[in-house]
Amino acid sequence: MSNIEIPEEQENITELANESASQKFFNKSFARIFKYMLTRLFTIGIAVVVGIILTIFIANWGGYLDEIKKATIAEQVGISVRENPALRDLPADERTKVIQEMIAIQERRMGLDRPFLTRTPGYLISALTLNFGWAPTMTSPSGSREVRLIILERLPATLVLFGTAQLFLFFTALFLALFLSRRYGSTLDKIIIALAPASAAPAWFYGIFLILFFAIIFPVLPFGGMVAAPPPLTTLGYALSLIEHLVLPVLAILLSAIFVSTYSWRTFFLIHSSEDYVEMAKAKGLPSRMIERKYVLRPTLPPIIMSFALTVITMWMGGIVLESVFVWPGLGTLFFEAIGRGETAVILGTTIIYAYLLGATLFITDIIFALIDPRVKIGTGGNA
């Protein structure tokens, strides 16, 4: 075998090959992340808009959107007539005629006599801003009958419940999965595998059983509501009452998701523990805790976050019935009530808020991805 000396490879890997100052590098990295986030925001935004358009189409299948508009017009005209001194004192049938004329004028102005498609952009704008007028039979917690407020004032309760549950779920499942991946084949491992199919049932399902056991048969926990009624006056009292009321619904959510999440993440960890770089880490003599943290957990986080995002999205949907079961004063119960009363505006609005929530979930996932996956920071190769 002869000795062929080949000159050092001339590599031209990235345009950054000549960068030396880490400051410049950091800026570029930051700029890349920023650009990525904007792109994602844009894409997700468009998706949300498409979803809302779809919602509008469905809603107007039965002409309900137009009815909402008409109802709003009628109410506004009624108010303006009552407040107009010139018109207020007219005899009843004349006043009615005036009202009807004004309504007709307004409807023409609003274009309700034009085909639906041309009015869609207008509806879209109102949908995006949750401008749906007033609800005939429902009021918001603060007493307003404006649909937007009815919906928005219920949002925090939902966020508290699901936010807490999701945080618990994520960290518990993560650590449990990591723990299990070290004990492959152990009894606990087998138990979790056996219990994984229990996640076929949605959260509200477990909620019913939990209420039965812990609020009725053994009445240790409240069976519904967010805080005791009347609410405690001190902040501490309020917080404690809140926690007491959170236990069962959060537990229901946990039960419905934790087994399958733990199982699938533990499988991820197991698969990734057999990667070559993990063996290298062992060969290098790194302590096992460090290996677990830097070589197993860190590289596996991206698929775990993806999987968790899907779980969260499913959870938002299951939440509607869950909240109703626990009479939790959030969006879900609102939805349920609105269905019962046939309040189309509220139903529409809540659907749209859910679309926003899902969009936000996706966006947050993408941000986290950008932060933990170096491929996004550097921008080489294809994006997610």
Binding site: M1, S2, N3, I4, E5, I6, E8, E9, E11, I13, T14, A17, E19, S20, S22, F25, E275, D276, Y277, E279, M280, A281, K282, A283, K284, G285, L286, P287, M290, K294, Y295, R298, P299, I372, D373, P374, R375, I378, T380, G381
Partner: protein
């Protein structure tokens, strides 16, 4: 050959592991010696057990390991007797390091290259501050010809050749006594192979470390090896001086191997070996190469010992008893 010259003494290593199909006797009673400052190549085909053997020196055992016995003397001390924790702290990377097969996957994809190269220094207490560790890492990179700004890159930004250089730098950074290279160039293209081989040759000239190169590539390993050991079906069948091995091997298998490798300056008709290596699950009794051996005779149904032929030259064949 005094004992002080011998860096590594491996005696009767057995590594068996369980599979669904049965017990695989991957490394079956392997013994060999390596003197300080010399490099040895362990040659064998796929499935000969050479990779398992290499890894077993570093106690990197598969999850389904069944038997792991023998003695491994590093500078006189039997490291097999050390506990796992002692082994981790004192042997791994401090005294024995490894350069893995040039796979995409040997470097952690989410940690920068420089951090990974410097990692063993910090973990084993050789450097206590990041700054010092980084200095040492840079020196190691220079040694292998890796431009230092690659220390701040992630592995996926590097080409195969660069990654392999980084792996070599990583192995050398703690100045171990022995470096194991597991198929270091098999996954690379020919040009990069030559480059890496040059790096290894240069390093061998410059530093004191001994190398064990595990490979199936007879051609490239010839450039760097001082000694050669040939593995077949989980056993060592011949150990000798590299130049002797490449010119005139004794064992019938080694002969057949050499006959199948093209040479540059001679005209040669290449031969091939009929048949397949035996399964390691139920290895045959007697000489394991007997079935395919052209020189087979009656005694081969009994397993031959590793006979001493001359100084440092051993052959596992009845022809040389």
């Amino acid at each position: 050959m005094t004992n002080k010259d011998i860096l590594l003494e491996v005696e009767n290593i057995r590594l068996y592991f369980r599979t669904g199909a049965g017990l695989v006797q991957a490394v079956d009673n392997v013994s060999l010696n390596l003197k300080k400052g010399r490099s040895m190549v362990i040659v064998g085909e796929s499935g000969s057990g050479k990779t398992s053997f290499g890894k077993s020196i570093l106690r990197l055992l598969p999850r389904n390991v069944h038997t792991y016995t023998g003695r491994v003397l590093l500078n006189g001390t039997d490291i097999m007797t050390l506990s796992d924790e002692q082994f981790r702290r004192e042997i791994r990377w401090k005294r024995i390091a490894m350069v893995p097969q040039a796979a995409m996957n040997s470097l952690n994809p989410v940690i920068k290259v420089g951090v990974q190269v410097a990692e063993p220094l910090l973990v084993h207490g050789i450097a206590t501050q990041n700054g010092i560790a980084r200095e040492l890492a840079m020196k190691a990179c220079q040694q292998v010809g890796l431009p230092v700004d690659f220390l701040d890159r992630y592995p996926f930004e590097l080409s195969g050749g660069m990654r392999q250089r980084a792996a070599i730098a990583m192995a050398l950074v703690t100045k171990p006594e022995l470096v194991l290279l597991d198929e270091p160039t098999s996954a690379l293209d020919v040009l990069t192979q030559a480059n890496i081989m040059n790096v290894l040759k240069r390093i061998k000239r410059e530093i004191d470390t001994s190398f064990i190169l595990v490979t199936h590539d007879i051609a490239t390993s010839s450039e760097i090896a001082d000694d050669a050991a040939i593995m077949y079906a989980g056993q060592i069948v011949e150990v000798c001086n590299a130049s002797l091995f490449y010119r005139e091997p004794y064992h019938p298998y080694s002969k057949k191997l050499m006959a199948s490798v093209p040479t540059l300056r001679k005209d040669k008709e290449l031969e091939f070996i009929k048949g397949q290596p035996p399964s390691l699950i139920e290895p045959p009794r007697g000489c394991r190469f007997a079935e395919r051996c052209p020189s087979r005779f009656k005694r081969c149904s009994e397993e031959p010992n590793l006979f001493d032929v001359s100084d440092g030259h051993k052959v596992k064949c009845w022809l040389y008893s």
